[in-house]
């Protein structure tokens, strides 16, 4: 019986202790949340006990994480490699396309610049779409035909110079016989003002990349590095188109004539975009430039011209005023009929 009472007392004490602990902890939470209960000693001691184990486990954890990442990386390496290869191929293709566009853009810009510079020609731009397999470097096919206004014997040029002429114009494409074709002959002359020697440029079968300027008299003034331009003779090629420059001069076998080897200004191996001269006219005169002025006495030519115009206008106004005044005096004196009078009145006055 006493054991039972003792046990009950013990249980009661435990319950009271438990309740006290619960209430204490409960209060602790609220006091700690408001910063009124701090336990730096307990915190420090607990940290000191736990920290070495945490450090050790943390090291193990970081090693495991490293291994896990390595394994994951290796497992994805093959797939990643495959993706990167595909990406490289795609980027290479894009790069190639971009380079192609850039090159085309540059060529078309040059051609456009030439088109704007030569106002005496009407040009139609065309792309080279083929070369004849029999003589691939002498005849090309372009993507413009009669529907675009192209006709036979029209000159074909690039911004660098003469390419050849249209040999056969189709509906939407045309064959162009190049300058270096052995069957081609172009009337030319030396551009140098002191020379102006005329000759014919024709293709050379032995040296297809360098046509010859033939029919040059032996004693004529032709030198290496002379520029050769079209003469306009024959009517196919307009005058003044650049053909190339003389790089070598040889005597003909007969002994009376000589010929010059020409380095063409156009690289026929890299021909991609050309322009066809569909119409040509006289070149407009160069705009007048003000003459060179003596240093120290320079005037603004535009200002002078403006003043001149104003002065001319003033003179015209003064002349008009004088004429009006004279007219009025004559009218007042009765020598001249008033313009404002009706024709019937004037007739009556004349009858009287």
């Amino acid at each position: 019986m006493s054991n039972k009472v003792h046990k009950e007392k013990k249980t009661g004490k435990k319950i009271i202790a438990l309740i006290v602990v619960f209430i204490s902890v409960f209060c602790c939470v609220f006091f700690a949340a408001r910063g009124k209960f701090m336990t730096p000693l307990v915190d420090g001691a607990a940290m000191a006990i736990v920290a070495p184990f945490q450090r050790a486990f943390s090291w193990v954890g970081s090693q495991l994480a490293f291994i896990k990442d390595s394994v994951k990386e290796i497992s994805t390496l093959h797939e990643q490699n495959k993706q990167l290869r595909e990406e490289v191929e795609l980027l290479r293709a894009q790069n190639l396309t971009a380079s192609e566009y850039a090159s085309e853009n540059q060529r078309l810009r040059n051609l456009l610049g030439y088109k704007q510079a030569v106002t005496q020609f009407d040009l139609v731009a065309a792309s080279v779409i083929g070369r004849e397999s029999a003589s691939w470097s002498s005849v090309i096919v372009i993507n413009r035909g009669t529907l675009d206004g192209v006709a036979n014997n029209m000159a074909v040029v690039t911004e660098l110079g003469l390419v050849g002429h249209v040999k056969e114009a189709g509906l939407s494409s045309s064959k162009v016989q190049l300058l270096i074709d052995p069957r081609s002959s172009v009337g030319t002359l030396i551009q140098r003002p002191e020379s102006r020697v005329a000759g014919i440029v024709e293709g050379d079968i032995k040296n297809p990349s360098h046509p010859r300027m033939v029919n040059i008299p032996k004693d004529s003034d032709v030198q290496v590095d002379d520029m050769v331009v079209t003469s306009g003779f024959g009517g196919v090629y307009p005058k003044g188109l650049v053909v190339g420059k003389i790089v070598d001069i040889h005597n003909e076998e007969g002994g009376l004539l000589k010929y010059g080897v020409i380095d063409t200004s156009v690289d026929f191996q890299k021909l991609e975009d050309v322009a066809i001269i569909v119409a040509s006219r006289e070149a407009p005169p160069e705009p007048l430039q003000p003459p060179t002025q003596t240093p120290g006495t320079e005037t603004d030519p535009y200002e002078t011209a403006e003043r001149l115009q104003q002065a001319q206008q003033q003179i015209q106004d003064a002349q008009q005023q004088i004429q009006d005044a004279q007219q009025q005096q004559l009218q007042e004196a009765g020598y001249v009929a008033d313009d404002t009078q009706q024709p019937e009145d004037v007739a009556e006055e004349a009858a009287q």
């Binding site: 438990l18 602990v21 619960f22 939470v29 940290m47 006990i49 184990f53 050790a56 943390s58 994480a65």
Partner: protein, 164 residues
């Protein structure tokens, strides 16, 4: 004395494991709460008094090292130790599936106490978001680790009984 030291060592080791190694093995950013599992296992095996005491010690350790509100974990683990210890009176204590099954209710109880305290302290918590993003990932980790922790506590308990 040696037995108490052994229990203390296990407590510290598991706590160090929970705060250092387990974050590397997480599910959706959440890792297991070993202190809670330990408290529940001790409560099932040793009754409500030892459960409450063990919860008190585990909570105190957590509050003293990483707890943001001192006493919150202590109160929660102590309550859980007491309640689950009381519940285990009519159960076969060495049933291994029991702590695994009770891992989720214990966690729910722990979170409920936390939320209640936070509400009382004036903190606003989005319960739906909390359940979706915090509770379930942690619950899965608890279930996964409940059995190994219970086996450890069971071994330690048997060892303590033998030494006594």
């Amino acid at each position: 004395m040696k037995i108490i030291g052994l229990w203390a060592m296990v407590l510290i080791l598991l706590y160090a494991l929970q705060t250092s190694l387990l974050p590397f093995v997480n599910f959706d950013g959440f890792s297991a709460n070993l202190m809670l599992l330990l408290t529940v296992s001790v409560a099932f095996l040793r009754g409500h008094e030892k459960g409450a005491f063990f919860g008190f010690m585990a909570g105190l350790l957590q509050d003293a090292t990483t707890g943001s509100y001192f006493g919150l974990a202590t109160f929660s683990y102590m309550t859980i130790g007491l309640i689950f210890g009381k519940c285990s009176v009519n159960l076969f204590r060495e049933q291994s599936l029991l702590p695994v099954v009770s891992a989720i209710p214990a966690l729910a109880f722990h979170f409920a106490i936390m939320i209640a305290f936070l509400f009382m302290l004036g903190r606003q918590i989005d319960l739906v978001r909390f359940m979706k993003f915090d509770f379930w990932p942690t619950a899965i980790m608890q279930v996964v680790l409940a059995y190994p922790v219970h086996r450890l506590v069971l071994a330690l308990n048997n060892f303590s009984k033998q030494r006594r």
